[in-house]
């Protein structure tokens, strides 16, 4: 009886706990997780952590190098870079997460359905995807903004939409490889519905490359949003956002390295964190590598 209880208790902890337990065994994955969590927390508690007001400027102190009061120095308008980075995390992470979510939640189903049903469906869907891929991503995003209008929300939607074809292709190629496996045929012979086959067998088995791709996309998304902001289409100037800060500091890189370096470093570390986490997640989600 006691054994039974213990067993059911173990069951209740569920698959999320299971994945975390396996994740915790990998040092690099844990580093990634720590980075991501630290950034998320600092974004969440920005007002408590930032030493100064990110919008308070002082032209007299512009481009001041790092000091005790201003650990990362001041930017071209004399604003505290550290505070701006902390506040900027809110927008930059949001951009990354929303862009990737749009890409995955729209792109993956398109790719899976296209590959699973094949034939004419596949042909038509893939020509659409080809058309979208033929445009350079940033141009496609520009086009979409022209249609949707300027603003941060529209930038996120536009960049998100322009990543859809990449996920659609990725999901399609994984599913094409999986759908000819015998376990899919077994599911059909059992009488499983198309929906069940897709959700239960195809998607879980084709997720690994998508997870890795999405962590790499984090950086691209932040930089694209910054680029669009630079063109005046996204985040408008005073708002603290990493990409915009990077662009702003670019002009002064010869005289004041810190203005562009620190936001750039932040993007780099964020991407690294998500990437390590994604890599670890892929392994942790694979039952074949379970110990």
């Amino acid at each position: 009886m006691g054994e039974m209880n213990e067993k059911s208790e173990k069951r209740e902890r569920g698959p999320v706990w299971d994945v975390f337990r396996r994740l915790s065994k990998r040092i690099t994955a844990m580093m990634g997780l720590v980075i991501v969590v630290v950034f998320l927390l600092s974004a969440l508690f920005a007002p408590l952590l930032a030493p100064h007001d990110p919008y308070e400027h002082s032209l007299a102190d512009k481009l001041a190098t790092p000091s005790w009061d201003y650990p990362l120095g001041r930017d071209e308008l004399g604003r505290c870079i550290l505070s701006r980075i902390i506040y900027g995390a809110r927008i930059s992470l949001l951009i990354g997460l929303i862009v990737i979510s749009i890409g995955i939640f729209v792109g993956v189903p398109i790719g899976v359905v296209s590959a699973y049903f094949g034939g004419k469906v596949d042909f038509i869907v893939q020509r659409f995807v080809d058309t979208m891929l033929a445009f350079p991503g940033i141009l496609l995003a520009l086009l979409l903004i022209a249609m949707l209008g300027v603003g941060l929300h529209n930038v996120m939607i536009a960049v998100g939409i322009s990543t859809i074809p990449i996920y659609a292709r990725l999901a399609r190629s994984s599913v094409l490889a999986i759908k000819s496996r015998q376990f899919v045929e077994a599911a059909r012979s059992i009488g499983s519905s198309h929906l069940r086959i897709i959700l239960q067998h195809l998607i879980p088995n084709s997720l690994s490359p998508i997870i890795v791709q999405s962590t790499l996309h984090m950086a691209t998304a932040i930089l694209w949003a910054a680029g669009l902001g630079f063109l005046g289409l996204g985040v408008s100037p005073p708002t603290a956002e990493w990409g915009a800060m990077l662009n702003g500091g670019r002009l002064y890189i010869r005289v004041a390295y810190h203005v562009a370096t620190f936001p750039g470093l932040m993007i780099f570390v964020t991407v690294l964190g998500f990437n390590l986490l994604g890599d670890g997640l892929r392994d942790a989600l694979d039952p074949r590598l379970k110990t």
């Binding site: 015998q182 599911a187 012979s189 059992i190 009488g191 879980p204 088995n205 039952p287 074949r288 379970k290």
Partner: protein, 325 residues
């Protein structure tokens, strides 16, 4: 007599088109994987289906279950034609017929535990859930000789034989009456093969199952089958009761096939007469005119090159497709 027939196949054909061109696809040829096949299977019997690689055995099994929709012909399951059935209706009839696959490493979803794999058919076709479902899974695992404590394990943690048992448990879960065994033992070690064969035989007795046993190993087929059908290039060339077929085979292809079985006695083996067929198996895209087998047949005559022999009953229960039989 007619009442105990579970499955009857009439004129079943499966042609795979070979197409050319991207925009306007043109059919340039066809692979005749299954070509006008007729046979029946009685309730509770095992029909062995033998033939060399690429002769269409597996395609025939898939067509029978409508996993591939055949090009033409009829498949009657308990008197109902499956080929004209809508796919919705077909899904519900799938619980009556199941399949055991050849490759136990490919036929189980690597991301599902043993329990989930066996539970899937029950989730699709029944309302059994929760505790009752877990008990049912444990029972099924026990039936196929696995320890119920293995429920939480993943397929890669099982050996080949255990995985095949898991595949059998999945096929049995919804109590089918008919199972296609698609070379269920050819991917296993010899020592495991016998265990799986015995398991299949035990289950047949216990659950009143009917098997279509596809294989290329003639001695295994002899052991398990009641009747045997021999296939060559998409056509059935001979069907007979097991003993009749192994004793007095009529079709020259069957005779050649049987002469290739080694005998485990070195003296007899040394004096064994082997019929070595000339040439290669013709391409199923460009079939020879007349009898498919005539280019390789040791006894072929002129008529064989012109007329396709039909499957005739030459003795009771013994059908042969040969002009000379």
């Amino acid at each position: 007599m007619a009442n105990d027939i579970l499955i009857e196949i009439k004129n079943l054909s499966m042609y795979f088109p070979i197409t050319k061109g991207i925009i306007r696809q043109q059919k340039i040829a066809e692979v005749k994987a299954v070509d006008g096949v007729n046979f029946f299977i009685r309730k509770g019997e095992t029909l062995g289906l033998v033939g060399e690689s690429g002769c269409g055995k597996t395609t025939l099994g898939r067509c029978l279950l409508q996993l591939i929709r055949p090009t033409s012909g009829e498949v009657y399951f308990e008197g109902v034609d499956l080929c004209t059935m809508a796919s919705d209706h077909l899904r519900s009839i799938r619980q009556r017929m199941q399949i055991i696959f050849q490759d136990p490493f490919d036929s189980l979803d690597p991301r599902m535990t043993a329990g989930e794999i066996v539970a899937e058919p029950l989730r699709v076709h029944t309302r059994i859930r929760g505790r009752e479902l877990r008990e049912k899974i444990a029972e099924l695992l026990k039936i196929v000789g696995l320890d119920p404590s293995m429920t939480e394990r993943y397929p890669h943690q099982f050996s080949g034989g255990q995985r095949q048992r898991l595949g059998i448990a999945r096929a049995l879960a919804i109590r089918p009456s008919f199972i296609v065994c698609d070379e269920p033992i050819s991917a296993l070690d010899v020592s495991i093969q016998a265990q799986i064969i015995n398991l299949l035989e035990d289950l047949q007795g216990e659950f009143d199952l009917t098997y279509l046993f596809i294989a290329h190993d003639l001695s295994v087929v002899r052991h398990i089958s009641h009747r045997v059908a021999v296939m060559y290039l998409g056509k059935i060339v001979e069907v007979a009761n097991r003993d009749a077929l192994y004793r007095v085979a009529k079709h020259p292809y069957t005779i050649a096939l049987l002469s290739a079985v080694p005998i485990p006695d070195p003296i007899v083996e040394a004096s064994r007469e082997r019929i070595i067929l000339r040439g290669e198996i013709p391409s199923p895209i460009a079939l020879p005119p007349g009898c498919n087998f005539h280019p390789r047949c040791p006894i072929g005559v002129e008529i064989c090159q012109k007329e396709i022999p039909s499957l005739r009953e030459i003795e009771e229960g013994h059908w042969v497709a040969c002009h000379l039989a």
